[in-house]
Amino acid sequence: MSTTQGRAKPRILVIDDEEPILFALAEYLGTFGFEVDGAREAEEAEALLAHVRYGAVISDLRLSGVHGTEGLEVVGFVRERCPWARILILTAYGSTEIEAEAYRLGADAFLRKPLPLADVAQAVFGMLGEAA
């Protein structure tokens, strides 16, 4: 039984500069009843986070910036501006140092790609305290 029974599903923001991944995650999570928005840039995500209430944020670590760890900036932004939101970082490149830094900044989960979409959904349910 869902712990959020009787309440609306939290809205989720997915951030990834690769359109196919964005599309796949949004579609997959949508099948569980989540309302999902997608953003391709950190600035677009931050603009949404400033005005829309999200229960969870899923961000790729690398977002077509110059240093390749823009996802960590998103973690910092979410912790400062939306402390209620849970945040999951996905990456194909992350080192243990970056993973530790993500957790230090306030990430709730850190997963390495490639991984099945079901694992992402499981992590989201875990963060939100919901049963899959």
Partner: protein
């Protein structure tokens, strides 16, 4: 073919669209008359930035205020040129744009001329916060605009950085009083005190107050009692596309043509 970036979509053909909300004159008892039309820009339909708040938050984070403001001004003038009643047009411009875009006044001049709109029909509404309200770029830009007959409004007076420093540096013709102070003012003593103080300050500086976000008739009556003449909000009309403007003007029975004293 690569997917265009969000900023390219915003600045591309059909990216931005203009809506117009009436600013009404409450001067006389009875039906309010039309004072002006504020141009409110929306982002590309179906994108995350269709909502204006998200759009301009994104633009600010991309540091593209200047280019987007120019696009908004062009869109507002092109759509506003055909509005029934030829109202005064109030165009929003970020304060940062005036700091950094030294050619803005000339640009506005050229675009207004291209759209056959006289400059004394325009109000530039300053939004957001610059690095410093005393920035020489702002002073210079405001001089250039005023020299051309353009009037100046300061948005969100009383909120954030739209404070007394901004008022003294900009010497606005209009104080735009944010909905935060307007909504529920009729039964909130603290709000009444703030609105009354702003109204007195505006009067002393020979400016007019525009109450934004008016929704309740009781708030309208309170503001009218304070001597506030100008207001906008859903009580009168939401922002509408230019094609629907005629329906808005039809609801104001006494405002055929532009008021020469407005």
């Amino acid at each position: 073919m690569t997917t265009p970036s969000l900023m390219q979509t915003i600045l591309g053909p059909g990216g931005l669209s203009a809506r117009f909300q009436p600013i009404v004159d409450l001067d006389e008892v009875g039906a309010p008359s039309l004072h002006a039309a504020e141009c409110l820009t929306r982002g590309p339909r179906g994108t995350n930035v269709e909502d204006a708040l998200v759009l301009f938050e994104y633009v600010r984070r991309k540091r593209e205020e200047g280019s987007v403001d120019r696009a908004c001004v062009t869109g507002g003038l092109e759509a506003g040129r055909c509005l029934a009643g030829a109202p005064i047009l109030s165009l929003n411009v970020h304060a940062v744009t005036l700091c950094l875009d030294q050619g803005f006044a000339d640009f506005l001049d050229q675009e207004a001329d291209r759209c056959e709109i006289e400059l004394d029909r325009l109000t530039i509404e300053l939004v957001g916060s610059p690095p410093n309200w005393s920035h020489p770029g702002i002073t210079s830009a405001l001089e250039g605009l005023r020299h051309r007959g353009v009037r100046i409004a300061l948005d969100d007076v009383g909120l954030g950085t739209a404070n007394c420093h901004a008022i003294l540096e900009c010497r606005p013709d209009f104080f735009k009083l944010d909905r935060y102070f307007v909504h529920g003012v009729h039964n909130d003593f603290a709000r009444q005190a703030v609105v009354e103080a702003v109204t007195m300050l505006a009067a002393d500086l020979e400016a007019q107050v525009v109450a934004e976000g008016l929704e309740e008739p009781a708030d309208l009556e309170f503001l009218r009692g304070l001597g506030i003449r100008l207001a906008q909000g859903h009580l009168f009309s939401p922002a509408v596309p230019a094609a629907e403007w005629a329906n808005v003007t039809a609801s104001f029975c006494r405002h055929e043509g532009r008021r020469s004293d407005a």
